[in-house]
């Protein structure tokens, strides 16, 4: 049905079947969005990994299509984000309709000056293709297709997995196993770990169709549209003239009936009119659950992405949270493997990303409750908010068709050094993601281009003599209009003063940025040992 040509990747006989191989630092279960991203983030820090996938191709169906800025920033470190932007549909604004009238318009990127847009819509199979290609070109990554994980034996200081291949079974020893194997995680099932949460019964129909159209690039959402008058409809554009139309069907729909092409076509004709022609790309009727594991780190087995937590699709919080998970995990795992940090650092992967998962579940549940009211009074309030929105701006803010994914606040993490100075007018506080801004450097026109895979200290000292002491292994960025910097420091040439503005930078201001681009600490003027002390704390050595 799909016009996409799925590439099949070759199976290779593993060395283990011939008695070679040996213990691996990291084995990753699952080659979806999270697994390959984790492998690339580990390779960036010199850590080799093996990825096991039972299949030999990418995601069938477009599935997770909204790639958020924070995910693109992660993928940019591997050189694949630009390709995604070029292929996908960039969008930053959305329109909500009541009936056929627009009632609410939102802009996710009101400020210019970021390397990446708020969102790029790109089918999951393209994202995976680009990631697989990049993994296969990396000497540190061993991506194994048609290798099915069938057993896990977790010990105190390592894991042994049993793998089935077309040539037979073999055992693979690893220091750490990371389960990125999705909502039906085999690893989670094999270890018999619970996945508690809430089941939602409303059904939705995804009709991905190929339709050459001049439709705007914005996300569009209708409550009670004339072409589907009892429910809601969500519309996204994707690459290759593919449209994602998502019809709310209600609880009582018959999924087998709804999936029949003639029934899908009938709904689409009501929407696009009798003369429009389209081809079907992918059809799916889905319900969803919100679930979260109690611990993401279980001894030497770590869970990430949908394997650890799932949400409803409203808000693009599934795939993007998975990328944020592995970005949080990779630098910590690399430090633990090298002995630079104690294994307890990984407990903060669990606490920080469980807090993020809770926030994602809360937001996605609220969106779901607004879109699919669960009892008559809930519907009355939802409809009242919609009706009032025509006239009153306050009611537009209540309309919840999905609160779209942004980096989660990690406030209160034990890795953060809380603000000691009180006079911050703006700028990201410890526990918040750093902000991008344009710079005039030849080697990269944006601040994020200069933030490396280890810790970074951004200083607004102004004069070289006033720069704080730079701890070993930390990249120094000195924000200045011109001039040169001492060893270890790079001068960040300002453009439009936006770095200063976004960080409330005054003479002496400094920010310590984590490898995953979160702020670990900030000062108006760090005293002698404060940076080194914050670094120890942020690396679990405090």
């Amino acid at each position: 049905m799909s016009s996409h040509t799925y590439r099949h990747y070759p199976y290779r006989r593993p060395a283990e079947l011939d008695g070679r191989g040996g213990r691996r630092p990291v084995v990753i279960a699952g080659a979806g969005l999270a697994g390959p991203t984790l492998a690339l983030a580990l390779a960036l820090r010199g850590v080799p990994s093996v990825i096991l996938d039972e299949d030999d191709t990418v995601s069938v169906g477009s599935r997770s299509i909204c790639q958020a800025r924070h995910s693109l920033e992660v993928w940019d470190r591997f050189g694949v984000a630009r390709r995604m932007v070029d292929k996908g549909i960039t969008w930053e604004q959305g329109e909500v309709y009541l009936g056929d009238r627009p009632i609410y318009h939102f802009n996710l990127a009101p400020e210019p000056g970021h390397k990446f847009p708020a969102f790029v819509n790109l089918q999951q199979y393209y994202v995976e293709e680009y990631l697989f290609e990049r993994c296969l070109a990396d000497d540190l990554i061993d991506l194994r297709f048609r290798h099915r994980l069938v057993g896990v034996q977790a010990g105190a200081d390592g894991v042994t997995v049993e793998v089935e291949t077309p040539d037979g079974r073999y055992a693979l020893d690893a220091e750490w196993l990371v389960a990125c194997d999705g909502v039906r995680s085999t690893v989670r099932h094999l270890l018999d770990l619970p996945f508690p949460g809430e089941v939602f019964h409303d059904q939705f129909l995804i009709a991905d169709i190929r339709l050459a159209s001049e439709l705007p690039k914005e996300r569009r959402f209708w409550f009670y549209p004339p072409f589907h008058p009892t429910n809601s409809v969500l519309l996204h554009r994707q690459a290759d003239n593919v449209l994602r139309v998502d019809f709310q069907l209600g609880r009582d729909a018959d999924p087998e009936e709804e999936k029949k092409p003639e029934n899908v076509d009938r709904r689409l004709r009501q929407m696009f009119g009798p003369d429009t022609r389209w081809e079907h790309e992918w059809t799916s009727v889905y319900t969803f659950t919100c679930r979260m594991m109690e611990r993401f780190v279980q001894g030497r087995v770590i869970f990430a992405g949908d394997a650890a937590h799932v949400v409803s699709p409203f808000g693009a919080r599934g795939g993007n949270a998975a990328i944020a998970d592995v970005d949080n995990l990779a630098w910590k795992l690399a430090r633990v493997l090298s002995g630079a940090s104690p294994a307890a650092l990984l407990d903060t992967y669990c606490s920080e990303r469980r807090a993020a998962a809770r926030e994602n579940i809360l937001n996605s549940t609220r969106s779901t409750d607004f879109i699919t009211p669960k009892f008559p009074a809930a519907r009355a309030f939802r409809d009242a908010a919609l009706s009032l929105a025509r006239e009153f701006p306050f009611a537009r803010a209540l309309i919840n068709s999905g609160r779209l994914s942004v980096p989660t606040a990690q406030s209160g993490s034990p890795l953060d050094t809380p603000d000691g100075d009180a006079d911050w007018r703006s700028g990201p506080a410890p526990g918040l993601a750093m902000l991008d801004a344009p710079v005039a450097n030849r080697g990269g026109g944006f601040l994020i281009d200069h933030v490396g895979p280890e810790f970074t200290l951004i200083s607004f000292a102004g004069r070289v003599a006033d720069l704080p002491e730079l701890p070993a292994g930390v990249t120094g960025l000195m924000v200045a209009r011109e001039g040169s910097a001492p060893a270890g420091w790079t001068v960040l040439h300002e453009r439009d003063g936006l770095v200063r503005q976004r960080y409330d930078g005054r003479a002496g201001t400094a920010y310590l940025i984590r490898p995953d681009r979160y702020v670990a600490a900030r000062w108006r003027k760090p005293a002698g040992s404060e940076v080194a002390s914050a670094l120890r704390r942020a690396t679990g050595n405090g």
Binding site: P376, A377, A380, A384, L388, F392, F394, A395
Partner: protein, 74 residues
Amino acid sequence: MAETASGGLRQTLNLAQPDDIFSAIVDAHRGLSDEQCRALDAGLILLLANHVGDAGVIREVLAAARRALEGGAT
């Protein structure tokens, strides 16, 4: 009785012409079906909540109304 409870919800009369306002609220529902009344009330509550603005007071109002409901009308 104190003018306000600890969270700030006013407990004593704050309307100059209480009978006028009471009648106006009731009259707004005249001739409507139960379903239309529910829709009207939902809009009223959202408008008033936004006007009040204070999240603590709104939560107190919700709790107080719920208490009154459980206590019954007489």
